[in-house]
Symmetry: C2
């Protein structure tokens, strides 16, 4: 027996989604302005609610990193409101004609971009996701059901209420943005089993959240999974530049999914390149874990274990392995990677081509840092996540990836 509250929430979202599909871009932008204004107007109230979450978290003994993620500082609040203005500036993809053609019988077929319908977002501690996700879903005319972490419950309620009330003043359809109020875990299961009601679930958070959602869901899920990203330094790489790129991909922001975790080095340049790389990275406090070949050239390296090749460190740790060929590199990546972002550094065109073709990841780089896998860096304007799945959307997901299509078929009486 389904939770009645969740089922009714879903049915209200479906109803709202029908109204959302009919809103003009201008109207949607006015509503977004209303949301941004209301957030500003309630800044004090929201930050007070947020402090309550933070205090509870501290009392419960959550880690410093966890507590930090919860905090809605002034800077984060500003960024959240600015995010709404950024989304206002984005082109609305709904209604675009993706292609059209006329059949010999005169039928005109148009493939038209439409909203997905009802999108559920299940996320953990960062309360700003409440706003970021809701506004992207709204701009693409989807109804949203938000389910945040219990540690951010007061913040999320205050934020959702501001979006709803600020939006409704400007014509936001009722129930277009809903927040699951209960922190009961069973509610998640009910939500992800609303077949025919919820069209897409996006879990955002750690591995255990994503696994739980995937296992329970009967509605489609797009996963934003871990990033075990690789850089392969080929024998024909520009080695000075390779040091810069590895350094950037590892140290510029080690805690994110597009940071590099493993560097693969072609054996022919291992002797020259590895000490150059080690010199730079060790100077930046990076711990290197290498295979036996690597350790011949980097005496400071720890010994890598099998588990290292499958680990997303999110930290100043780098695993390093020497490989025999481009093929050995792509094989390693396809075996141990997470289909996220992987790069080859090489001046050799056939090596580049082979790598681009064989590596089965959402984003494959030639001579650049893996850190560019990001909606803003790609020019999408904003992102709701980075899909490591292969269906519907891969890589950074912006507004277009929050839409689907339908066919309009225009006839003059055709029968078959």
């Amino acid at each position: 027996m389904k939770n009645k509250e969740i089922l009714e929430m879903g049915e209200r979202a479906v109803k709202a989604s029908r109204e959302l599909a009919l809103l003009s871009s201008r109207k949607k932008n006015t509503i977004l302005e209303g949301m941004a204004e209301e957030l500003e107007a309630r800044r004090h109230e929201i930050q007070t609610a947020n402090r309550r979450d933070v205090e509870e978290a501290e009392r419960a003994g959550l880690s410093k990193a966890m507590v930090d993620r919860l905090v809605l500082s002034d800077a984060r609040f500003d960024a959240m409101v600015k995010g709404i203005h950024d989304v206002i500036a984005l082109k609305d993809p709904v209604g675009d004609v993706l292609s059209s053609w006329v059949r010999p019988n005169g039928l005109e077929i148009r493939k038209v971009r439409v909203p997905i319908g009802v999108v559920a977002i299940i996320y953990e501690s960062r309360p700003n996701v409440t706003v970021d996700a809701a506004v992207l879903c709204f701009k693409s005319s989807n109804a949203t059901i938000l389910r945040g972490g219990k540690e951010a419950v007061f913040s999320n309620r205050a934020l959702a209420l501001a979006l709803q009330e600020g939006g409704e003043k400007k014509g936001l359809p009722k129930d277009a943005v809903q927040l699951v109020q209960t922190t009961n875990r069973a509610a998640v299961k009910d939500l992800v089993q609303l077949d025919g009601i919820v069209d897409l679930v996006m879990p955002r958070g750690g591995e255990s959240l994503i696994r739980a959602v995937t296992e329970q869901a009967t509605v489609p899920v797009i996963k934003h999974y871990k990033g075990i990203c690789h850089i392969f330094v080929d024998k024909d790489a520009d080695l000075e530049r390779a040091v810069d790129i590895v350094d950037n991909a590892k140290t510029q922001r080690p805690g994110v999914c597009n940071a590099v975790e493993t560097v693969l080095v072609h054996k022919e340049i291992a002797e020259t390149f590895l000490p150059m790389m080690a010199n730079r990275l060790i100077g930046k406090n990076v711990v290197i874990r290498g295979d036996s070949e690597t350790r011949k050239h980097i005496p400071e390296a720890e010994a890598a274990t099998d588990a290292d090749w499958d680990t997303e460190y999110l930290d100043l740790i780098l695993s390093v392995k020497v490989v025999d060929s481009v093929g050995a590199a792509t094989e390693h990546i396809n075996t141990h990677g997470s289909k996220h972002s992987d790069a080859i550094l090489s001046e050799n065109e056939s090596a580049q081509k082979k790598f681009l073709q064989e590596v089965d990841s959402s984003t494959v780089y030639v001579n650049a840092s893996t850190r560019f896998t990001d909606g803003n860096e790609f020019g999408l304007g904003a992102e709701i996540g980075i899909s490591t799945d292969k269906l519907h959307a891969r890589g950074p997901m912006g507004l277009e990836e929050l839409t689907t299509y339908k066919y309009h078929v225009l006839g003059t009486g055709q029968c078959r």
Copy 2:
């Protein structure tokens, strides 16, 4: 504990998929020729295996319709082989650059069409699906794991073997097309839970098969669900033409998913239109089940029950309802339809526009029969199914819908 056989089959498919991704279109077509030749060469052997299935089915007392679906007659065999030649003629979508752009920092981003990877097809009695599905998946460079119904086991084995051996003579990678040999039901569960191995499952068959797969699957599923298709005859319809279209959509082939099941009639033309329509349909042995308004104008109509509005008859039965407006029609369709194919018959542009926008189905028609929702009729050349889901693919799925994309990002040393 997973079935070891299924797990290893999945791992072999992944390996094959890497080789498939590198095959040229020319090479793939040569392999398809080899498959077609081998089928022809083994026609007698395959039909002998098929007769064994048919005899078993008759002995087991399967319905006449079920037995008929099993039979690989000469005509069906010819159509199956011709299907391979049709697929050879189709343009290979793999490698197409869908879009590309250059970022201010000089990074060139290319969105490139690539195969999905490993596709599992779970189907019921028709043995020709073994060939149709395998060749479409192969032409789009996907590895296939086929799991047919137990009633067609001998036919499916003979067909799969012909495809494998005929293909391998011309260079088909080993394990590119695999058939699950066991008819054990648990094997399906294991197959649809091969996360990270199977990229997509497509169940093809009745509602209970699709439900079972959806509930068990942890890998993505695209459903080809039932078709409860509607035609709304607006007050501004050309009534003569409307009779032709309803007749075509109901009677030309009633047993298929894009046949119409419910006709909604605007109240202002009910008195004129309903007798015209009834006259034609009853002359063709169609049973009409109407609401009370309908029965005022069609005395022969049976009384429709609530269940009728949610029923896919697949038969010469039509439910008919009188509605007050376009809005009432779209509301009925969005409530009772199956997001498949629905039509408005009207000369009024604003009614057409409202209907196109509001009906949430994969294919929405203006002034044409719903029977055109089909890969061939759409000009896709062939179809592996008609998706009633909203993600990745909607409506008829051809070769393009069996692909996904990845990003190639080409740099000259960019760091973030």
